[in-house]
């Protein structure tokens, strides 16, 4: 503090300044710190809302690891979704961003069109529309029949394909990553390309030797954000499966399983343990990407 008055005035200033932080402090303690502590505690209990929580030690976690086939199904579904949707989404986003970054006229229009799905994609309406497109009598099968005379299966009602329609829905929402890539591409100095082309480097070589390395910080950022987001995906799976992660648990996202355990079956204690397992998984992957970053992310300074 610059103006040093009497101790009393300093204290009053402190109080006055702290008062701006009061709403955040209340929220932080009541809705973040308190609940974190409570949910750690609840994860070691048997609790069903009706009677007080019963301490059962590690039992919930032991059951998750050794005696819960649906947990492993949910893990399998979620990891398949994350490992397919994130790289494909980023690849599309990068490809379109590179195509748009050539000083084409109409950039703003294309950018807006590609961005629109990511703004709307998380809504119930879009999930429902997606279900109709890939249903037995849906748009896709009509189109396949019209074009090739092929009578397709019910993509969302078949356990072997349902998850992939959700992957496709996630890829369709590549727009926000694309915008971040575009912003990153703008930062690459144009004279690097000019110098490279004088040296006879072709377009592919320029892409792999200039664009890609200089863009790694942005790729890293997008990958982390999109991975965390993909682990948390919920609405589209909920609507497309009708709320139960079906058919036969083929779209049982981890979040969906968590929702069912907590709010449908009211296994509050067990669901708290499930929630912490998810938090730890997300934290682990975030930490892993930060650790790996030093080997592949290129920073200027």
């Amino acid at each position: 503090m610059r103006a040093r008055g009497p101790a009393g005035a300093g204290f009053r200033r402190q109080v006055a300044n702290y008062s701006f932080l009061i709403p955040w402090l209340i929220g932080f303690f009541a809705l973040t710190v308190g609940p974190i502590a409570t949910s750690i505690y609840l994860s070691f209990t048997d609790y069903g809302l009706m009677s007080p929580p019963q301490w059962i030690g590690m039992e919930n976690y032991v059951r998750i690891a050794s005696d819960d086939p649906r947990f492993w199904t949910a893990m399998n579904v979620t990891f398949t979704f994350v490992l397919l949707s994130v790289p494909l989404k980023l690849a599309f986003a990068l490809a379109v961003a590179v195509a748009l970054n050539k000083g084409l006229r109409g950039l703003a229009v294309f950018r807006a069109i590609f961005y629109l799905p990511s703004l709307l994609g998380g809504t119930v309406a879009i999930a429902f529309m997606w279900r109709q497109i890939f249903s037995r009598d849906g748009l896709l099968n009509r189109g396949l029949e019209y074009l090739f005379g092929y009578d397709g299966p019910g993509w969302v009602s078949s356990p072997s394909t349902a998850l992939y329609t959700l992957v496709l829905l996630a890829i369709w929402q590549f727009g926000s990553s694309m915008i971040i890539f575009l912003a990153g591409l703008r930062q690459i100095p144009q004279d690097m390309y000019e110098a490279a082309s004088i040296d006879g480097a072709g377009r592919a070589r320029q892409f792999f030797k200039i664009t890609l390395p200089l863009l790694t910080p942005v790729i890293f950022f997008n990958a982390v954000i999109q991975t965390i987001d993909a682990f948390k995906a919920f609405t589209s799976a909920f609507v497309i499966s009708g709320g139960d992660g079906g058919p036969i648990d083929s779209t049982l996202f981890y979040t969906l399983y968590l929702f069912q355990e907590a709010f449908v079956n009211l296994h509050i204690g067990y669901a708290s343990a499930l929630a912490w397992v998810l938090v730890v998984i997300i934290a682990f992957f975030t930490a892993l990407s930060f650790l790996s970053a030093r080997y592949w992310v290129h920073y200027d300074d």
């Binding site: 103006a3 006055a16 300044n17 702290y18 701006f20 932080l21 709403p23 955040w24 929220g27 932080f28 809705l31 973040t32 609940p35 949910s39 809302l49 379109v96 195509a99 748009l100 084409l104 807006a112 069109i113 590609f114 961005y115 629109l116 990511s118 703004l119 709307l120 998380g122 809504t123 119930v124 309406a125 429902f128 529309m129 997606w130 109709q132 497109i133 009509r142 926000s176 971040i180 575009l182 000019e194 082309s197 004088i198 950022f221 997008n222 954000i225 965390i228 948390k232 919920f234 609405t235 609507v239 968590l258 929702f259 907590a262 709010f263 669901a271 708290s272 929630a275 998810l278 938090v279």
Partner: protein, 290 residues
């Protein structure tokens, strides 16, 4: 440009422009593929039921608004009530976020007090913390408070700056405002509240607008929180209402479902048209998720 690159450009002029044409063709084709599902949804809402799955054409043979009338009245109590609920919750969320997050961001950037950096680090920590860690106890808390099945669990947290993302957004913006303004105001005897109201807020139009638009869209789109907190159909948001409409209508009235789907995304679409630049710049500069 050097002579070498000039002649190079001239030589490859034809290849260059044909590549350009190819780029346009590919991008246009990609745009159509991207937009087709949306256009299909909208056009289906204007078609009679028997035409939706028999034709892949986007243009209805005969435009009819029947589906909108049927859909609007399809849910007991009608969709009007749900639109009012969603609007109320979203507007309150915007107000809550703007007030609480700007106060916190102002404190973090412009004021000095004991433990500021400590609190700031914790705030950044909440930014990356998955909601799942706090979800269940929050529910139990709101249940014990008797708030379940009211809009309070959806609105009150916004007045407590729970969306750390907006604090972060505003912190970035406030840091760019010249400090000389505050210092001059302090010389004139202004206290922190006066500086906040008379200097910071009037200069913060752009960041406030960005936060407001994103806050509205995210709250309007949100499905999970309303799903766990709202039970009675009178309290439903449009997202919940649409979902029960989908479940209850089953296989019968597609065009009414498409009509209501179109209506629920329409406000977002309007905001997108109106604030496109703001949204895109917001994402480009902060790397927002959506």
């Amino acid at each position: 440009m050097t002579d070498a690159t000039l002649s190079r450009d001239r030589r490859s002029g034809w290849a260059h422009s044909s590549r350009r044409v190819l780029s346009y063709c590919l991008l246009t084709a990609a745009s159509l593929v991207m937009l087709y599902p949306l256009l299909w949804m909208v056009s289906s809402s204007f078609k009679p039921n028997d035409e939706i799955f028999t034709s892949v054409s986007l243009l209805p043979d005969k435009i009819t608004l029947d589906a909108y009338v049927r859909g609007w009245n399809g849910l007991s109590g009608g969709f009007g009530r749900l639109f009012f609920n969603s609007l109320l919750i979203s507007v309150l969320a915007v107000i809550g976020n703007l007030i609480s997050c700007s106060l916190a961001a102002y404190a973090f950037t412009r004021l000095r007090f004991f433990g500021r950096d400590f609190w700031f680090a914790l705030m950044l920590g909440t930014l990356i913390m998955p909601q799942h860690a706090v979800l269940i106890p929050q529910y139990v808390l709101f249940l014990k408070l008797g708030w379940v099945n009211t809009i309070l669990p959806l609105v009150v947290p916004k007045f407590l700056a729970i969306d750390a993302f907006f604090i972060f957004l505003m912190v970035q913006f406030f840091r760019g405002l010249p400090r000389e303004l505050d210092e001059a105001a302090i010389m004139d005897g202004c206290g922190p509240w006066r500086i906040y109201f008379k200097i910071i807020l009037p200069l913060s139009g752009p960041v406030m607008a960005t936060a407001a638009v994103f806050s509205f869209i995210w709250t309007w789109d949100d499905f999970f929180a309303p799903l766990i907190y709202l039970n009675d159909i009178q309290n439903y948001t449009v997202q919940l209402g649409l979902r029960s409409f989908v479940d209850s209508t089953a296989q019968s009235d597609w065009s009414a479902l498409f009509a209501m789907s179109t209506l629920t995304v329409f406000p977002i679409f309007i905001l997108f048209i109106a604030f496109q630049r703001l949204l895109i710049e917001g994402i480009a500069t902060t790397g927002m998720k959506r």
